[in-house]
């Protein structure tokens, strides 16, 4: 019904050239206000909207941002990834950009980027989940494809644009909080430490301990995908050991829930017998709210990060000459119900 008018037909109906109609609709000054009005009314009436492929072809801009996610990534960062996407997506649509997501086999990731560049599918991309050994930025530079990193690429902080939270500092503060409460046996349930964010968190943890003359106990440090059972199983194992931790520092709310479950199963009261502090990405389906949140946490909205990352990227695209820019967010430290003073020496 309302389908199918193109510029040509529209301009014929108006007895105007395509040029004029196009200019009228795109807000160029060389058309009288009267004509512009006449044009927009007719366009509205006929339900005209420019064919995006044609426009993209003519302007040479894809008006789209790419996100390539290798299969493996969304197994470990599933919900975080989506929250980021949601934030970025809002920014995109506000600016008339499309978001295109490619889910690819791990070994096709490079291919995916090459295709985006050579077929001009997107004007830029977001790089997710940088690892310690990271090479994507080199490829993208070679492909001349603007990009923003969510996280940081170690060694390339200067030359790339990125948005990241201060992982090291957050975990240092969290650790200090526990130390101040008298805990000395603190377990770290970290994410996969070949990822940049996780190594930084570990560093923050270790440095805080070191500053008080403590050495981390390898038996209390784990690194894996941040699932719920990961939290539960490892906490259970540690709590049942001869020398159990009195506190847990955890990289994700999901795993923290698992730890709380383990504590419950061991008959320990969270916030009393055992303290838990977690990083909270502020995922909408895992609200950790209330006057006193369930979990004491370091919190940083990954959704906000998504919005900002998108803005950075859009700026880069419209202003290609600009230098790399970056945003370093600080996590809030929020005291909830899950932490308390270290219990008096047991046994």
């Amino acid at each position: 019904m309302s389908n199918g008018v193109n510029l040509k037909e529209l301009s014929q109906r108006l007895n105007l050239s395509q040029t004029t109609v196009s200019r009228a609709l795109n807000g160029y000054p060389e058309v009288s206000e009267e004509t512009r009005k006449r044009v927009s009314e007719m366009a509205e009436k006929l339900g005209y909207a420019p064919n995006s492929q044609a426009r993209r072809l003519a302007t040479g801009r894809a008006m789209a941002i790419g996100h390539v996610i290798p299969r493996s990534i969304h197994e470990m960062m599933n919900p975080i990834f989506l929250e980021f996407i949601a934030g970025a997506g809002e920014t995109y649509s506000r600016h008339g950009y499309d978001m295109i997501i490619s889910v690819v086999d791990d070994d096709k990731e490079e291919d995916a980027y090459r295709q985006i560049a050579s077929r001009k599918k997107a004007d830029g991309v977001i790089v997710h989940g940088p690892a310690n050994e990271e090479h994507r930025h080199k490829l993208l530079k070679e492909l001349n494809l603007p990009f923003v990193v969510h996280g940081r690429i170690p060694g390339a902080e200067r030359e790339t644009s990125w948005i990241d939270m201060n992982n090291r500092r957050a975990f240092e503060r969290a650790t200090n909080l526990l130390l101040d409460l008298g805990h000395t046996r603190i377990a770290l349930l970290n994410g996969l430490e070949h990822m940049d964010f996780a190594s930084r968190r570990r560093r923050g943890f270790e440095e805080a301990l070191a500053a008080r003359g403590l050495t981390p106990d390898p038996a209390l440090m784990r690194s894996a995908d941040m699932t719920e059972p990961y939290g539960c199983d490892n906490a259970m194992e540690m709590l049942k050991s001869d020398n159990p931790p009195t506190a847990f520092l955890i990289s994700s709310m999901i795993s923290a829930i698992g730890v709380a479950r383990a504590a419950g199963q061991c008959g320990l009261k969270t916030g009393k017998d055992v303290s838990i502090i977690t990083h909270d990405d502020a995922l909408s389906f895992l609200p950790n709210s209330g006057e006193v949140p369930i979990f004491t946490c370091t919190r940083s909205s990954v959704r906000y990060a998504g919005e900002k990352a998108a803005e950075l990227l859009l700026n880069m695209i419209s202003n290609p000459a600009a230098k790399p820019a970056s945003l370093h967010l600080d996590a809030e430290l929020i005291i909830g119900q899950s932490t308390g003073p270290a219990p008096a020496a047991s046994r």
Copy 2:
């Protein structure tokens, strides 16, 4: 470096016409194998790949599928949505399609669909989260935009293509399992019941009770966003009441975890003092695995649903004359550790 060869240049390098080169690369028969080989080699060497905008314009196919997600939806179905997307995305890329996702304000949803249609941004769309009062399918039909529903639109099952799990049956079976174990006071923590999937689940629950001559107690039925605290708070309230339930039937693992937490806090042992059965969407970051899974559940992979939905849609697109098709998946009923016989009458 490897950037920037177009068809014209490529064909000049080869002393061939654009026609021939195009045909050679697209596998048309009217070109000799020898030439085809020569062409592909040169294309490879120069890093040629057809500009996707140009191709889309020429062929009239967008080679993309749209997913429009209103802001509100991803607050309630965040992780499920992503898992679906991941499944669909794989199918798309296997078939050379792009996935474009629009995150829009709730009141712009219709607009988003109109734009996709009029600007030819996608060849089809997936409709997420159908409600009891659903109108999107009418709009899409009017816009002549092929679509597949994830879930079902009540009253339009015949005329639309969809993929859904058997929600009613799954919850009926789950309820029967509890009844067989001797539970009679069963709580239902459902999703938002203005959504189709949730009303069906409720129906399954109620029908199973009715079949044994039982009437559901309104005090034991809740409906809300399926967050973790939702599970915990409501379970807590019910467990502390005068006449507490002995079993919970829950619409989502996330809330089930909350219920388990509440049980723990009340000093009740899950699977013994209180039984829990949940629906499990098989989300990768919430594995409910092991020989005997933590939670007894009805399980249906939403990721698989995504794959299949994409296939349905792609079929519709390449075969527009075909009748609506649909896929009705049955959830598995899996016995885990969280269910057991009803405790002997307490008090």
